[in-house]
């Protein structure tokens, strides 16, 4: 079990964004988190990565309780995320973005950095080669020196994934990676996430692109109004009447293939 969510709730003033949610993710899985707008999916991510702590409940990562610890510690333990509204370091180059992603994988401090000790140089070398390899993986090698904010939307999303991967996470959280992508690009994204899975990374995916979700995910949890509506394999979910009513819409719509 990589991640275990136990009875997590989150309230904002009067609004309960999450109510008593539990689910768990196995190693190597691609796990889907879907549901209507405002169902609480992003809120769940924020609780897991400690942007804010849950109001109640606990979150276990590799059997360790990580509820409410500092966000950077979560990353150091092996969870990394992307953001629904892209949050790159917009003024940095593409490569630098990925290097920052590798922060938790390196250790040099002020003095080793300034005096360029041998171990620091080695470490830096390694960071760079990993970063380049990741850019290759997401298909951004040729933009290495470009300033991040000048990338097109879809490229920015892929850069976010590369940056998150640079922290060598055991669990990767993706928040709507396909938003703003066309079908061709979404197809590329499919292969990318698959490749990430091959690297042994477990993925928790929020996405509204149903074809993508259904093809990628091993299991899916559906949230609705902050409550858990259903959980199961893609087939089970697609055929769940409640989910269809709340979220997927009727079969008749031929665009949801």
């Amino acid at each position: 079990m990589v991640l275990k969510i136990n009875n997590v709730s989150k309230n904002f003033g009067g609004i309960s964004a999450l109510t008593d949610i539990s689910f768990s993710i196995n190693k190597g899985e691609i796990f889907g988190l879907i549901g209507p707008n405002g169902a609480g999916k992003t809120t769940m991510f924020n609780c897991i990565t400690s942007i804010f702590p849950p109001s109640s409940g606990e979150i276990l990562f590799l059997d360790e309780n990580i509820t409410g610890i500092k966000p950077h510690k979560i990353t150091n333990k092996g969870i990394c995320r992307t953001f629904q509204n892209i949050r790159l370091f917009s003024q940095m180059s593409v490569l630098e973005n990925v290097l920052v992603g590798g922060h938790s994988q390196s250790h040099s401090g002020v003095f080793s950095g300034v005096f360029r000790t041998k171990s620091q140089r080695n470490e830096e070398e390694k960071l760079r080669s990993t970063a380049r390899e990741l850019l290759e993986l997401v298909g951004l090698s040729e933009f290495e020196d470009a300033v991040a904010e000048n990338l097109a939307y879809g490229q920015q999303r892929r850069l976010e994934i590369a940056r998150a991967l640079a922290s060598d996470p055991k669990l990767l959280l993706l928040d709507e990676p396909a938003a703003g992508m066309n079908d061709t690009e979404t197809a590329d994204l499919y292969y990318l996430i698959k490749k990430v899975q091959e690297r042994g990374v477990t993925t928790l995916l929020i996405e509204h692109d149903m074809p993508l979700v259904m093809r990628l995910c091993d299991r899916i949890t559906v949230l609705n109004f902050g409550k858990k509506l259903a959980e199961g394999t893609p087939e089970e979910i697609q055929n769940n009447q409640e989910v269809i009513e709340a979220y997927l819409g009727s079969e008749g719509d031929d665009d949801i293939a």
Binding site: N46, I51, F52, F83
Partner: protein, 294 residues
């Protein structure tokens, strides 16, 4: 004595509050700390001196002249020091800080050349009107200052929260581009705001001149710094906060003199904000920023 000191504190606090309102308004709409606000205030005071003491005209003319002059200064400030920086790509948020500091240096030295260094007395019979109750003397100006500050506060907070123009102003403050696609003429709104804020500075200038009978080119700095402390204390961009912050500071300064060590009077404003900010980083009345929506 206590009552007299309270009157002193409220007078001072009301002045601080009016100055702070000007800061708050510009900060609220532009997100800019207008470092020249204190100097605009000083200019207002000098116009008051010129109209009453030098030209010997009645006090209401002084108010009109000061409001007009500072409004024009506000317009020029917007036109030459703020507008060129707006909407340019890669402009750091520090640029307007520096350019308004530039304006403040310019205005301070200009007024020195125009009006001369040193204190200028504010000679107006109006400033002499006072009432004596027992051993307590209260000047009409002191009452006026308090009343004006309350009126301005109420008017401003109504304007901002209830009127269309006020909402447009807040929209502009939040995001220029968004406001403009909603149909707001952002240039006009911004100019208007800076002008109103400056005119309020002008009013404050005259009131201070009358209350303390001292006007000099440097007066903008010290009151300006206090004004800054207050908007932080009360919560940035918050009208009621500015008023409350002003009164708190005015009373605190008075009481530290009356019952403590007057040597720390200038520090009290900043000690207060440091303490407040540590307890409530958003200021006394500031809204807590939403729990991060990444």
């Amino acid at each position: 004595m206590l009552l007299e000191q309270i009157i002193n504190g409220i007078t001072l606090g009301s002045i601080y509050a009016i100055v702070a309102l000007g800061f708050t308004l510009v900060f609220g709409v532009l997100g800019i700390i207008n470092m020249a606000h204190g100097e605009i205030f000083m200019f207002g005071a000098f116009i008051g001196v010129t109209v009453t003491s030098t030209l010997g005209l009645p006090i209401w003319m002084a108010f009109l002249a000061a409001i007009a002059a500072t409004a024009i200064l506000g317009y020029l400030l917007e036109q030459f020091a703020l507008r060129p920086l707006r909407g340019k790509k890669g402009v750091s948020h520090l640029a307007p800080l520096i350019s308004t500091i530039g304006v403040s240096i310019f205005l301070e030295n200009l007024s020195h050349h125009l009006f001369g260094a040193g204190n200028h007395p504010f000679k107006s019979s109006f400033a002499e009107i006072h009432y004596t109750i027992g051993s307590i003397t209260i000047y009409l100006v002191q009452i006026l200052i308090f009343v004006i500050s309350v009126i301005l506060m109420i008017a401003l907070s109504y304007w901002l929260s209830k009127t269309k123009a006020g909402k447009a102003l807040r929209a502009t403050a939040e995001n220029l581009e968004t406001a403009s696609i909603l149909g707001v003429n952002t240039k006009q709104i911004i100019t208007l705001t800076v002008i109103i804020a400056s005119a309020m500075g002008g009013i404050a200038g005259i009131l201070v001149g009358m209350a303390f009978n001292s006007v000099n080119p440097q007066m903008g700095l010290s009151i300006g710094l206090k004004g800054l402390a207050i908007i932080i204390l009360g919560g940035m961009g918050n009208v009621k906060g500015a008023m409350a912050g002003g009164l708190i500071l005015g009373l605190a300064e008075t009481f530290i003199v009356a019952y403590g060590d007057s040597g720390y009077r200038d520090a009290i404003a900043f000690i207060a904000i440091i303490v407040i900010l540590l307890i409530r980083p958003q200021g006394l009345f500031g809204k807590k920023t939403s729990e991060g929506r990444p």
